[in-house]
Symmetry: C3
């Protein structure tokens, strides 16, 4: 048996570990798990930014396996952070209380790495500012695998605020490194194009990709449309840019019309929450995978908690 | 065995179900319950408005029966709601994580119905804006039954901010539909009279009722004085009206003098929190039932959780 | 077996009880405890002021012993307090729900006493405004005992904002009453000298103490330097005084230079959070005891919870 030493960045996982996560998530999804597996084990949720969904999904994963949870839902405002304490001190002290895992959401890039360097227990990065959100990327990959039975030979369109979207950045890293045999379409307003660092990464791993500002031309061949929200909170002091982006993004809204031009076996994904970038009128269409995707987050997080706290077979891949 | 499918509005319950709730609450109050009944079961508290008392009472009910709780205490400010997510999306996602029950406090009327329509698990309505607060109404009825052994032939005065008080509205619905053989006195400042909808409902069920602006005339015959707080938070942008109501309400304050004119077997109820509408000087009088009433909330909520998650005998009434 | 009836003020404990706490904390630290000791027992965390560390430490202590926790992390803003409810009413209602213990952080001096007077269950005072913070004082004493094997014959320097620091005030009470055979140095800027009440208490118990505005002269002989943070939140409307104090406190900052002048067996303590009053450059020095001190908080709180909820042998001292 070996153990995962936390989940900090997307790049750190190799393909074999990913496939193990997916296999264990499958058993969780099938209901084949010991409801007392983590009895007596404890999680601390340390959230410096609001995120009900991500927090509750980790916490529910812990409870389903018999563990316990304590935490704070707005550490930035409520904790000793207001008294000037550094993230490093906070994490060092809390890890000293002996939880089995800390789930951290931080408002600045690199927070998870800084936390891990001060922690005596594993950290799960639940998003660090404009940085990464690796468990979301894992559940995104898991969803594609669940829906298509494979993560290769697919046309995957990442749509919307690619400049600020953590989830699409993390997803690109994973696709590039471990599942490069797909075609990636980066579809965004001019103002929120995917960062050069990610595009360089895609090139390095020879991923076929294109950049577009509209969806129409690629819809008929696309397998996955991964829509994202314009992250208003990243446009502080740039509200006029935000409004431009929203206007430019209007032609990227997924409507019943969009679906008509898509294949019968294709899917729509979204990390949620959505604002108006997906019309609620399509929710009943079986191709809308976003609620299934959110639910997969539970199974992936149950798998990660098992692998971090209990461990997994050495030879597994 | 059958199960309660959540608690959304007061009107949905029939008398037989109410009597079952009261009977199960009695066993909870007597300490006759399995402390591991809900082991492995989970509750999500989703509170869009502050309410420590209501939230902790539901959560403690869950813990007492061996269940686990996660949640958020100010979903409006902290959750994905700030990013523009609808209540329906939030509830659909959270119910997808597989809790056994969601306890919802929402700031707008109709929130619980909207939530239930999107949820795959039962919802307990812990108050929706100026709408309903059915578990409070149930515990109010339960308290009357506990104190008098019956809910009939009583003189019940509902006092204070009847226009905005959820609890008195819900209580009227229950009394009208299932316990119409009582006399109801609606005692309030002119500005906060009971809504016409509720009065029409009382009439429809032929409940004898009167409207007054002072308590004095009815005190000697009254069995229950149900006092309420002026809901300042419902007077946003109408502060001058609020001040008028507070002044008009001054003569409705319950003091040692009020108690002197009441029967020895009568009781004072209040949904709490109170501000100054009940003088603390009377707290030691055995007729003050409000702290017993709050405690009954625990037993009623334990009963409801059992009936929702585990179920109750089919033939029970 | 007898039980502790809560933890309200430092003065209430006798030396025999303190020594019992230390002995039980030792077994907790050694890992010799029943992980199901408090199964089915419940704690309510009622925090009117933010304090992630103190709250999580109590909550983790509860979980480690198998108990459950619910609560609120900012009762002042979120609870019925905003509707005007008194602390007494809130505590009376919550204790009526039947938790086994309430952990209270309150923003005004005397809050814990007021709460206990209205509570049917034991209260642990987790800090009340400028009043006391007794569990911190107990863990401070425990840390000194752990580090030196004794609490006597030591030179103990209390440094920084002595006027507003709850922890140093509580520590003085304990030292005076039960461990008077130490020398205490009160080192602070002129503006934040230790209050006369505490100095009178030290005199009453014949504790040898001095008052200084600089550390240099006492460093070579000092065993314990207990550094504290200037409590900015206590200087509302007095920001210019705050800035003076910070400037005056600059010469009290603990740096690598400070350590050079200290004994090899001495220690640096701090209740944490720290801002800049201890240079992070010394964190790796074995004499920095503050992270060990924070961790001791867990064991002391586990001991207190056991003594409050389960009890401890009558004859123990």
């Amino acid at each position: 048996m070996k153990k995962l030493n936390g989940v900090i960045t997307a790049q750190r996982f190799n393909k074999s570990t990913l496939e193990t996560i997916f296999a264990i998530a499958d058993t969780m999804k099938a209901g084949h798990f010991d409801t007392q597996l983590l009895r007596g084990k404890t999680m601390v949720s340390l959230f410096y930014e609001p995120s009900t969904r991500t927090r509750l999904s980790h916490e529910m994963a812990m409870l389903k396996l018999g563990g316990s949870v304590i935490g704070t839902e707005n550490a930035r405002e409520f904790s000793s952070a207001v008294k000037g304490e550094t993230l490093e001190d906070t994490v060092r002290i809390i890890s000293g209380y002996g939880p089995d895992v800390i789930v951290l959401r931080y408002h600045e890039k690199g927070g998870a790495e800084r936390a891990q360097s001060s922690s005596s227990v594993p950290i799960i990065n639940a998003g660090d500012g404009a940085g990464q959100h690796p468990t979301q990327a894992i559940l995104d990959l898991y969803t594609i695998k669940q829906e298509f039975g494979r993560i290769e030979g697919l046309d995957i369109a990442l749509v919307g605020d690619l400049a600020n979207g953590r989830t699409v950045r993390s997803l690109c890293y994973f696709l590039a490194k471990h599942y490069p045999n797909n075609r990636v379409h980066l579809v965004s307003p001019e103002q929120t194009r995917m960062g050069d660092d990610v595009k360089a990464y895609l090139k390095k791993y020879r991923v076929q990709f294109s950049e577009l500002t509209e969806l129409d031309s690629i819809l008929p061949a696309t397998d996955v449309v991964y829509q994202t929200r314009v992250q208003k909170e990243r446009f502080v002091d740039k509200l006029s840019v935000y409004e431009e982006v929203v206007r430019a993004g209007e032609k990227l809204i997924i409507t019943p019309d969009t679906l008509k031009r898509m294949k019968s076996k294709s899917i729509i994904m979204h990390p949620l929450p959505r604002v108006n970038e997906i019309d609620r009128a399509i929710d009943a269409d079986p191709r809308t995978a976003y609620f299934r995707q959110a639910q997969n987050g539970l199974y992936v997080r149950m798998a990660l908690l098992k692998m971090i706290i209990v461990g997994y077979p050495n030879g597994s891949n």
